[in-house]
Symmetry: C2
Subunit: 254 residues, 2 copies
C-alpha cells in the first residue's frame, strides 16, 4: 500500500514559519506535497482568481516530495493542486499553521480555512490549523504534538464528505493545555474597523483594523474553549443555509 498523500496549503504564504512547522509535524505520516501562495494571502476568504491567469513554480521545501508556489489565493492553490499538479487524489489536506486565530466569525475571512473547505468540497478529509499568535516569531513547537494527534486520528477514522475541521490552538505552553473540545463556531463580529490616515499629497486613505467582539454567552463554542485553555475543533461545512428559518420564511406572503 502506498503512503498517504498529504497536501499542505496555507494563507500566510509558503515562506511563513507556520507552514514549515506543519510540514515538520506531518511528514512522518506520508508523502507530503506543498502547494501554497507565493505571498501573504490572509483575509482572502474563499477568493478565487478569475480575471487573471495563474502560474506556479517548483521550489525546494524540506520534508516534502514536491513543493510549489502559486501566484493566486489559497483556494486557487487547492484547485491547481487537485486538478493539475497531483497525479492522484490526496488522502488528507492540512492548511496552516496559521499565524493568528481563525475562531468564531474569522473562519469566513480566513484563507487558511478556505483551503481546508475547498479540500472537503473535493471529498478529501481536510483540517485547518491556527495558533493564537499573529507574530512572525510565533512558537509553533508546543502545538506540534497536538497537530500530530489530530492528524493521526483523522487519517485513521476519516471525515464525512463536505465537512472539514477548524482547529485553533491557544498560545500557551503545552502543559497548560487542558485538552481538546469539539464545539460550535462562536457568534461575534469586528467593530471600529477603519483607521484613517492622510498621505503626503493630503489625500485620505484607510487601513482595515478593528476589535473583535463576542456576542456569545454560551460555553459550547470555540471562543469559550480557547479562553479556558482548550484546543477548539469546529466541524465546518459550506452549507450556509439557516435551516431553522426555511419554514417560517416560507409562510411570508411572497
Amino acid at each position: 500500500m502506498s503512503k498517504p498523500l498529504i497536501l499542505v496549503c496555507n494563507d500566510d504564504g509558503v515562506f511563513a514559519p507556520g507552514i514549515k512547522a506543519l510540514v515538520s509535524a506531518v511528514e512522518q505520516f506520508g508523502e507530503v506535497v506543498v502547494v501554497a501562495p507565493d505571498s501573504p494571502q490572509s483575509g482572502q476568504g474563499m477568493s478565487i482568481t478569475i480575471n487573471h491567469p495563474l502560474r506556479y513554480r517548483r521550489i525546494e521545501f524540506k520534508g516534502t516530495s514536491q513543493a510549489y508556489t502559486c501566484d493566486g489565493t489559497p483556494v486557487d492553490c487547492m484547485k491547481l493542486a487537485v486538478n493539475h499538479i497531483l497525479k492522484r487524489k490526496p488522502d488528507l489536506v492540512v492548511s496552516g499553521i496559521n499565524h493568528g486565530a481563525n475562531s468564531s466569525v474569522n473562519v469566513k475571512y480566513s484563507g487558511t480555512m478556505s483551503a481546508a473547505l475547498e479540500g472537503c468540497m473535493e471529498k478529501i478529509p481536510s483540517i485547518g490549523f491556527s495558533l493564537l499568535d499573529h507574530s512572525i516569531e510565533a512558537n509553533f513547537e508546543p502545538s506540534l504534538p497536538f497537530v500530530q494527534k489530530i492528524v493521526k486520528l483523522v487519517l485513521k477514522r476519516g471525515l464525512p464528505d463536505f465537512t472539514c475541521l477548524n482547529v485553533n490552538i491557544p498560545n500557551i505552553s503545552s502543559e497548560l493545555i487542558k485538552g481538546i473540545k469539539v464545539c460550535r463556531q462562536a457568534n461575534g463580529n469586528w467593530t471600529e474597523e477603519l483607521e484613517e490616515r492622510t498621505d503626503p499629497m493630503g489625500e485620505k486613505y484607510f487601513w482595515l483594523t478593528g476589535k473583535f467582539k463576542s456576542y456569545d454567552t454560551g460555553m459550547d463554542h470555540d471562543l469559550w474553549a480557547l479562553e479556558n485553555g482548550y484546543i477548539s475543533i469546529v466541524p465546518t461545512h459550506y452549507d450556509m443555509t439557516n435551516h431553522t428559518l426555511i419554514s417560517p420564511l416560507s409562510r411570508w406572503e411572497w
Copy 2:
C-alpha cells in the same frame, strides 16, 4: 419619520448594468446610497484588504443621494460604508443584481453574497440578488417587480439578526416565473477547473474555469427551484458549524 436608508453594493463593480437596475428598483423605497467596487470583484468571496490601504471617491449615480466607488472588495466597501461613510445605520442592504447565478456552493465564492453577509453581521436586514445570466447585456427588466416585492416585504417584516437572503432569479420572461420558493442551498461543486495555455515566452499559465456539478437529488433546494421556473430564496447565515457532527466527533479519542 425619516425615509429608510438603503445601502447598495455589488461585486461586478459600480459600472455594471446590474447595480443600476437594482438602484432603479429600490429608489422608490427610501434614500439610496451606493458604495461599490471601482472594478469587477467577482469571485472575491469574503475577501478583505489588509495588506494595502483603501481609498474611496464620490461619483454621480442616478437614483441615489450619494454614491462612492472604493478600490477594495465588496466586503471592504461594506465596512467602509457602515463604519465611515454613513452617518446612521442603514435600514436595508441590497447587493447585486449579480450578472450570473449565486446558487448552491457559489454562495461561498460570491462577492455579491459576501456584501449581504457582511450586512447581516452588522444586524442590518440584507439581501443579495442574482440573475442567471452572466452577460453584460443581461436583461434585468423582468426581475425588477420581483426584486421590489421582496424588498418591500423585508422592509416591512425585517429579518432575524445574522441571516441574510440569497435570492436567485431564473433568466426567463416574467410570465413564465412560477413564484418564489424559500429553500436550502443545494449540494454541488465545480469540476475540470483549469484551462492550460502557453504564453509567447513558452511558459505555461492557467485560467480558472470549470463545469458545475450538482450532487443533490432533493427537491427542496435552490437549484431545483431555479430549474423549475421559481425564484429561489435561501436564508443564509455565517455559522458554518456542522452541528450534527459535534456529538459524534466529541466521542473520538482525542
